[in-house]
Symmetry: C2
Subunit: 381 residues, 2 copies
């Protein structure tokens, strides 16, 4: 019903240095993340883009991954208070996936933390204003930090040919960048953070593009970067793209606001390994998280494979039912997987039903029922 | 160029209890505010809706005006720290328009504050996560408050016939509600906050619809409320609507993220009367605001009337130039006014050029130049 609704444009829904480029490439859909445009589709189908992403290389405007820059004498202290994951041994040049919790241990973001220096961090955020959260907390505590949103516009290069392409543009050192590490690389005389990371299960890189010199215009420089990569990518069959729903669900990559919200704790999101409730350091939500650890959880994110007509991507959650027709959870992201040759979904499922192999029923928006089965995540290869 | 871009739907872009109703009424455009859908257009043109709004009555889904509920022993203390406007004399039942500032006196929201009781407030927010700001700050200060986003879904009834319609549905007491006041009114045995307010220059009301009893479903109850008002509104020629760009700009009603951002202080936004930097109480941004007060501002929001072809609503800012072709500001919201019979815009203009009557040049997105003149706000009747 809401398939052909237009997005009303305004300054509040911020454009990026690459928006003109994605418009030229025929972007058909946007969504809004962190008050900024995120492309969600081009001329091809999600399935065509999926196969392309798994074979070649794509360029994605992910500028909406805004950076919350925390610097100053108390930077490290503040960052540690923001997450249950220990950053004690984190080295400069590393990327850490970190849960951020509220006082009730509810997830309020699941960003990637970059350590640029001992007193300088970037938090590359999902869709919530962590700038306000971190700043409000630091003001309340009267910490000696500086918190801002710098003009950084991440550009993702994703797919198996991304290393070759990135090497062509940035040089041989690209190959030395390990997964979830970054290096400072030169681009036209400017220093850029280049990480091996990205929101796909393919190999890939994220360029945290920043105009360091205010004499340069970020749109102009951003378009230059896009064009140089685009031209260099021709021999690798480069295509414009965006986070691909099939690839993301198959890979078990969660989306904040979709697959979990501030109503969910990190244990429900399978993020135990990023939580150290027993460590010495204090962090927001510590007491609540200890209580979760002690009492256990009542639901958890699982995969579901479900039958029937190919699902083209769900715009709202689908109820999951037990054989007694009781609601036992919901699918929060779902689509047809051409590899698995069935529909797949990420779902939050109640404890008594989360065992792998459990048979469930998925209720479509039109009320029709489909047979489903619980799986692990990521979906089996 | 971006006129026909679709909005990609997902759970993260939250639906409201009224979304199904606006879909039935043929909503054509949405935008996203506070991670929630806000309708931006139906079958008729903005101009047709504008004339209708000025004569009859409309029903608007403004659920995206999320409430940040602050309660507990330190509630009043916290609210006062969040704004430069004094709430010392604020009585229960009042609505206050309040700036919320960061530590640099930059605007981070311009919500309406409702005092429900001495220790219970709602902050009805524009598009930024004040829930995280308030909660982070309160945690840092270790205040004794409870902060949450309750399931409140504001529904606006706007237009000159709104009082008659609201009286028909809620009873004669509606007439006693003064502008920016609210009363608790009965709806099918539930207590609802009904304020005389709204994001238009017409008379109007906002029902802060809340399902108080968890036995009831908010979608079901919301649809009931919508239908009862819709049916009662037939004799008043009710129509589905949304904040109207022509009405809003004519009335000088600003939009956070569009007409100002966290780069702007409240003095630049003509909000001096809501700021008391000299009072005893501490608030975030006080020192910075005192400095703004002392040193003066370099730019300010003004109206602009500009010539040429009728402008159908701008998706991105238009540069404003001096007669020497120097950029002296930008139009941040603009559209053709059928009443003024010319294009009008809200703009941030540098000091040397902000005098009423100043001749300026407006540069359209295609590069074409139009003659403009600076006006006061709201635009003259």
């Amino acid at each position: 019903m809401t398939k052909n609704i237009k997005l009303n444009m305004s300054r509040r829904i911020r454009r990026t240095p690459y928006t003109s480029m994605v418009e030229k490439h025929g972007v058909s859909d946007f969504t809004v993340v962190n008050h900024m445009l995120l492309p969600k589709g081009f001329k091809n189908s999600v399935e065509t883009d999926y196969w392309h992403l798994s074979k070649d290389v794509q360029i994605w405007d992910v500028s909406c991954q805004r950076q919350v820059q925390i610097s100053g004498p108390d930077a490290s202290k503040l960052v540690q208070k923001l997450t249950p994951r220990s950053i004690k041994k984190m080295e400069t040049g590393k990327c850490f996936y970190i849960p951020i919790l509220n006082e009730k241990a509810g997830m309020i973001n699941d960003p990637v933390l970059l350590k640029l220096d001992d007193d300088m961090f970037w938090i590359s955020i999902a869709d919530s204003d962590i700038l306000l959260w971190a700043k409000g907390f630091a003001l309340g505590l009267d910490l000696n930090v500086n918190i801002e949103e710098p003009d950084v516009y991440p550009l993702a290069i994703q797919g198996p040919k991304s290393e070759e392409l990135m090497t062509k543009v940035f040089g041989e050192d690209v190959k030395k960048i390990k997964f979830f590490n970054f290096r400072i690389m030169d681009f036209m005389g400017t220093k850029q953070v280049v990480a091996r990371s990205g929101y796909s299960k393919q190999d890939g890189f994220e360029i945290y593009f920043k105009v360091h010199d205010s004499h340069f215009d970020s749109i102009e420089m951003g378009e230059k970067l896009w064009k140089i990569i685009w031209d260099a990518g021709q021999e690798f069959n480069i295509s414009p793209g965006c986070p691909n729903l099939i690839d993301r669900i198959e890979g078990g990559l969660m989306s904040y606001g979709n697959d979990f919200t501030n109503e969910n704790n990190p244990f429900e999101c399978n993020l135990e390994k990023y939580c150290s409730p027993d460590v010495d350091h204090h962090f927001i939500g510590k007491e609540a998280l200890k209580s979760v650890q002690k009492n256990g959880i009542i639901q958890k994110i699982r995969g579901i494979i479900f039958d029937g007509e190919a699902c083209s991507g769900i715009g709202q959650p689908l109820p999951v039912l037990s054989d007694k027709n009781k609601k036992i959870g919901q699918i929060t992201s779902g689509i047809y997987s051409p590899r698995i040759k069935n529909n797949i979904g990420l779902s939050m499922i109640l404890r008594d039903f989360w065992e792998v192999g459990e048979n469930v029923t998925v209720q479509m928006l039109d009320g029709k029922k489909r047979k489903g089965i619980i799986t692990t995540l990521p979906f089996p290869e």
